[in-house]
Amino acid sequence: MRTIVPQTQLNRPLGKAVYWTVLTVVVVVFTLVFIGPLYWLVTGGLKSTQEVIQSPPTLFPSEIHWGTYATAWRELKIGRLLFNTVYYAFGALAFQLVFDVAAAYSLSKLRPVLGNVILGMMLATLMIPSAVLIVPQYLTVLDLPLLHLNLISTPWAIWLPTVANAFNIFLLKRFFDSIPQDLLAAAAIDGASPLRTLRSIVLPMSKPILGVVSIFAVVNVWKDFLWPMLVQPNPADQTLNIGIRSLATGVPQNVIIAALAIASAPTILFFLVFQRSIMSGLTSGGLKG
């Protein structure tokens, strides 16, 4: 692939020298800027309380305190917070997969009356900045209209609103649109019900897009802040983001740093494992997200 700098220029001795210098500088600077803070986080959790606030800082902990991580886990109840976050994230994922896939399938393949109007109304919500709706959404969760249920402090308050995701439905519908109608017609002739067709034909063909939607569903809940802070006031129900922040006062700094390191580990590992699909998902769908 040709870029701004042509290959011929790079083959010359001077070009080679410049290229390798630039490459080295970029690799070193990027490593420092993006891994450096993470390194500081992990080693900071191993230092003693005095060493962590020492100036200038030490590159390696002079004495390794594994106990800090144990203390952080215990005092900040990281296990509980981690469990809550996983519970909310995968619950949200399950609801989004079931309801959004069903809706996209209906809009794309079953084509109900008023389907296009419904799709239009869903897509229109993409134009509303999420911060604008936070107050009425909170009041809705506080007292669900018609049913008069209070969802505050229940996982439903996090799970159900994530289903109303027009972007997911749009992505899924676009993918389903590309599945040939003939396949579905053949299934219908064989007497398959719409649900059966969805399960045995559409879903097996849609693995890539389901992967993208799933990853973003999990990451969004993991990163959300304001909404879980409002709807989960009870410390035992909070997510990592909220819990660490509210429990962090009055705890020694090395303990908090250890807690932050533990909190970052799952998503970072998740990313390193799934980085291929995350990257491709980003570039296919990220533009409008």
Binding site: T3, I4, F30, L110, T140, P194, Q253, L282
Partner: protein, 325 residues
């Protein structure tokens, strides 16, 4: 009935309800009984049901309620209409102007850093022939961290006494800074942290756009004797112009809703309200001051909606153009 109202084109002719869709596939069964049509539509709407309920409760109904509440006041469970009192109240609040000024400042700084830097990084990465995958992963790592971890990490770096940033400045014999503790530098500090946390997404999108530029264009520019900067200016930027403008608008809309970074870094308002943003003010009216001024908060939300609607309209026009390309 259906299909004629919607702006979204499908290949379905504006036939009477239900005669297209599934029946068309099933081998030209033109006339199906009314009962069958109803049944087919019932099952199709059944599939939509869960999503419709969620949209209804958590998006459509709140949209209507947002507008209604802007003109209401709720006190001890009793709701009264107050007309434009809520709007008057926010316009009279000096914090309103403060918050908008800070929000625009944040957006401006975030665009200089958060818009230009990812583009620069993407162009740079695109030129490199080695270590590409490694560098791409690095840039995206912070995006995957829980915000509380990234933000508190920066809070330690910003500490004027023992923070890493001042340590580095001292080592280089440069003047140190109060960072978050001074009204002059608080917002810049917030923007630097936010950029570190979020630049990965934009960088990868730019990188994908850059990889779509046909190599012949650069070849032609080489034959014309164009230098690096001219190629960047006359080939790279025009070729990615659409994505650049789309992301610019998306980032304006996103950065104007900034909340988490200032909230966690400076408790929301910062020294002398220097990092108080509009969303923080909404939060304060509705949830923080104990007043539960939902009406006032809704009115402020509505003002924000109007301001952002301008940007959104522009965005949707641009994205429609991009779909036609």
């Amino acid at each position: 009935m259906a299909g004629t109202i919607s702006p979204y084109k499908t290949n379905r002719r504006s036939a009477p309800a239900g005669s297209g869709s599934a029946g068309r596939g099933a081998g030209g069964r033109e006339r199906s009984g009314l009962g069958q049509k109803v049944r087919r539509n019932l099952s199709a709407h059944g599939f939509l049901f869960g999503a419709l309920v969620c949209f209804g409760f958590f998006t459509w109904y709140p949209m209507v309620r947002e507008v209604v509440m802007s003109f209401q006041k709720t006190k001890r469970g009793r709701t009264t209409w107050v007309g434009f009192d809520n709007l008057r109240r926010i316009f009279d609040d000096p914090d309103f102007w403060h918050a908008w000024r800070n929000t625009f400042l944040f957006t401006l700084l975030a665009l200089v850093l958060g818009f230009a830097l990812p583009f620069f990084v993407a162009v740079l990465l695109n030129e490199l022939r080695h270590a590409k995958a490694y560098l791409r992963i690095l840039v995206y790592l912070p995006v995957m961290m829980p915000p509380v971890a990234a933000v508190l990490l920066f809070k330690y770096f910003y500490n004027p006494d023992y923070g890493l940033f001042n340590d580095i400045l001292r080592t280089l014999h440069l003047p140190t800074s109060a960072w978050l503790n001074s009204p002059d530098t608080a917002m810049v500090s917030v923007v630097i942290a936010a950029t570190w946390m979020n630049m990965g997404g934009a960088t990868l999108i730019y990188l994908a756009a850059l990889q779509g530029i046909p190599g012949e264009l650069y070849e032609a520019a080489d034959l014309d004797g164009a230098g690096l900067l001219r190629k960047l200016w006359h080939v790279t930027i025009p070729q990615t112009r659409l994505i650049l403008s789309l992301l610019l608008l998306l980032q304006i809309v996103a950065t104007m809703q900034v909340f988490v970074e200032p909230f966690l870094l400076t408790g929301g308002n910062g020294p002398q309200n220097s990092t108080m943003t509009v969303v923080y003010l909404v939060y304060e009216y509705a949830f923080d001051l104990g007043g539960n001024n939902y009406g006032v908060a809704s009115a402020l939300g509505l003002v924000m909606l109007v301001v952002l609607a301008g940007f959104s309209a522009l965005y949707s026009r641009l994205s429609r153009n991009s779909d036609n390309d």
